[in-house]
Symmetry: C2
């Protein structure tokens, strides 16, 4: 953990180093992934069989080795503890409501020269969703990807997920049932992403691929960007808490740890104008780490990337926050709305002390798939728009073409594109 | 040019081959581009000086070697022929009006449990726009990229454009003046894209890079996707004309040629239920190619990739069109609106015989930067959204957290994330 004060002479250099630090593991998997994708493209299912035996110790032979049926997902759902089932249903319904209010409106209007213009939104036909196996298999993550796709109107929603040694995750299957996932395939890694993009004998190709994954999965999505649509390039995630003196240090400590427990590359940052509070937060974190079941990961993250910035005044906080462009920003200050108005770059903002980031991870409704690694400067969280595409349209009357066609002819000629000019003048001169 | 009939026994196989054909040049530039980007990242301006001398025969020494001033853009504008200036101004104002109507609305509402939720859109701070030098330097393209960025509210809009042997394009500079471009740098190629993404001593980095370019530029953007936002992976473009018998073959021929004259990899396709019309279009194209100044390129495109499909009934057209997912689709049929309703995948649709695609290239208003190479299945044309990002927000009252917090605790525990659970329960149990 690093403690910086804006009043220190070397603050700017040290803070800049934090902003620039990519916190990526330096695994270079580009060539391996390219080979895997090529194999899947060329050999289809046979390549999936080979890689799945090798990486997941799972043999793809019978239909049920390949695919988890809708009935199995239903069975997993029915077997859930009642409270947990209710919690998943609550999460799904709130995520659904938020994303329904996000659906874009078509436009269709006729302008002053009588030209009809507009844009129409439609869902993609098929979307693929990567769901990690093992420890990082989160039902909440499935809901956050699958529900927006279904709200967008995607007809065929395909999950791929590795089942190492044949083991699947009952919670994930139950969530797939709730979200109305259409197919669940027991493949993972770059090979599963390749299967979604190119299609194989068994797995039909999709138009868009979303969902979290390890370095291989992320690189596969990056390499296939353009062959299909993808949600984003994900990186190490972060939380930023901006807090004034009127806060319970234990609340702030828990929020910082909720990010740190995800991964050693996660980053938790506190900005405060109150040095005693900062000290108490630090102590609270140290105490909590002693007993936290995820303490090892959280400790590694906090030690390597944790940061407390003590500012002279909270007026300085928004500018620092914009440089961090954090995935999550909690504003635990007296007037969070006023600070939100001054803060420009963040994936999602949590206003006031009663809004811990974790409530957004599960049940608030907005998406928890958010731009990481300073990408909130230009990127947005996952939304129904990631599963839709827009077609613009133009409908010119004879008169409207006569009104603006000559200008287009002039420009086409100036650009040295005579057939463009001809396609208009042949109509004007009819 | 290939002529297919849906009634032919081998139609399906041949049409499928057309759909799958990528029409890409097989230039593999990935490694060269990676080297160039790395050099620019490491050496900044010095690398730009080297590459610009080598690729553009232009020496970057004085400030005016590096940069074209706002005054020079204004001078180019003032020197324009009056009609051309009016045409550019008309185009800019119509593009501006269309894209202003595209600006997204923020959301801010409080739901039934008293939780305030919403999303806020803001422009990115800085955008970079690649403008090719030489033949493909189109002022219309500059307007189509720059105007939406300015409508979105981008404060710093930076153009990079190669000036081979020092030569710049007066029309492009005039368009930059009209669009309010803030900086014009005389660099091009992958090195210019790298400079925009990483920043150099002279050129400040940007958040989003858009604009067309050659294979090196496209690959540079692809490799930098995630470091910055990019508009899309562009590929060879296409026009699809669906026409019934009541059409002038010369109009259709001109429209098909307007795409073919762009590049030998362009594709022009006609679907009609009228074989005699198809024959007349073919003859009209052959006649036009004899005198068209861009005939060599258009001929190469038409010969290699041109396609006429004769359908038994126009009822078959939308399904074929969806498989092609063309960048541009002209519906020259009696009821274009009815056909548009049946057609799902296209970048932009041109309704009725008085709407040639070229009117959309220049003055109609919608963007002419559109998804190519079948990507309209999942991608959309350039819009103000490409220059903006959305921040979601959550504002929970004490009561709202009490209402849904327990479900979040349950889910966090089930996912094995105790600090997530703690961050909520510590507030519930206060």
């Amino acid at each position: 953990m690093q403690l910086l004060r804006t009043s220190d002479a070397d603050f700017e250099a040290k803070f800049d180093k934090v902003v620039r630090d990519r916190r990526e593991s330096d695994t270079n998997v580009a060539r391996d992934v390219a080979n895997i994708l090529n194999e899947v493209k060329e050999r289809g299912d046979a390549a999936l069989v080979d890689y799945t035996a090798r990486f997941d110790q799972h043999r793809l032979t019978s239909d049920s080795d390949w695919r988890i049926s809708a009935e199995d997902c239903k069975t997993a759902y029915d077997a859930l503890d009642g409270e947990l089932r209710d919690a998943l249903e609550l999460a799904a319904s709130r995520i659904r409501a938020y994303h329904e209010s996000q659906l874009p409106e078509d436009r269709d209007y006729t302008d002053d020269i009588g030209m009809r213009l507009g844009a129409r939104w439609l869902p993609v036909e098929a979307a693929g969703l990567y769901v990690p196996g093992g420890r990082a298999a989160y039902p909440s993550s499935l809901l956050m990807n699958a529900v927006p796709a279904k709200v967008a109107g995607v007809e065929r929603l395909v999950v791929v997920t590795p089942t190492p040694k044949g083991e699947s995750n009952a919670l994930v299957l139950a969530a797939a049932h709730i979200a109305g996932v259409d197919e669940v395939w027991r493949v993972g890694g770059a090979q599963a992403v390749g299967a979604l993009a190119y299609g194989t004998q068994r797995i039909g190709k999709v138009d868009v691929i979303t969902g979290p994954g390890n370095a291989w999965v992320a690189e596969a999505k990056r390499q296939l960007y353009g062959v299909v649509g993808i949600d984003m390039v994900a990186g190490p995630s972060e939380i930023l808490v901006i807090a004034d003196k009127d806060n319970d240090p234990d609340w702030i400590a828990a929020d910082l740890l909720s990010q740190a427990e995800h991964d050693p590359t996660s980053q938790s940052i506190l900005i405060t104008d109150n040095a005693p509070l900062a000290g108490m937060v630090r102590d609270s974190i140290d105490r909590a780490l002693l007993s936290l079941p995820t303490g090892k990961t959280a400790r590694a993250s906090w030690d390597a990337h944790g940061l407390i910035v003590i500012v002279d005044s909270l007026e300085q906080a928004p500018a620092l926050a914009d440089r961090l462009a954090a995935e999550h920003a909690e504003l635990m200050v007296a007037d969070p709305q006023a600070m939100f108005a001054k803060l420009r770059h963040a994936g999602s903002v949590f206003l006031g002390k009663h809004t811990p980031e974790a409530v957004g991870d599960y049940v608030a409704g907005p998406n928890h798939v958010l731009p990481t690694g300073r990408r909130a400067r230009f990127a947005s969280g996952l939304s129904v728009l990631d599963f839709m595409k827009r077609t613009s349209f133009i409908d010119a009357s004879d008169a409207a073409l006569a009104a603006i066609g000559p200008a287009a002819v002039k420009l086409a000629e100036a650009e040295g594109l005579p057939a463009h000019a001809l396609s208009i003048s042949v109509r004007l001169n009819k």
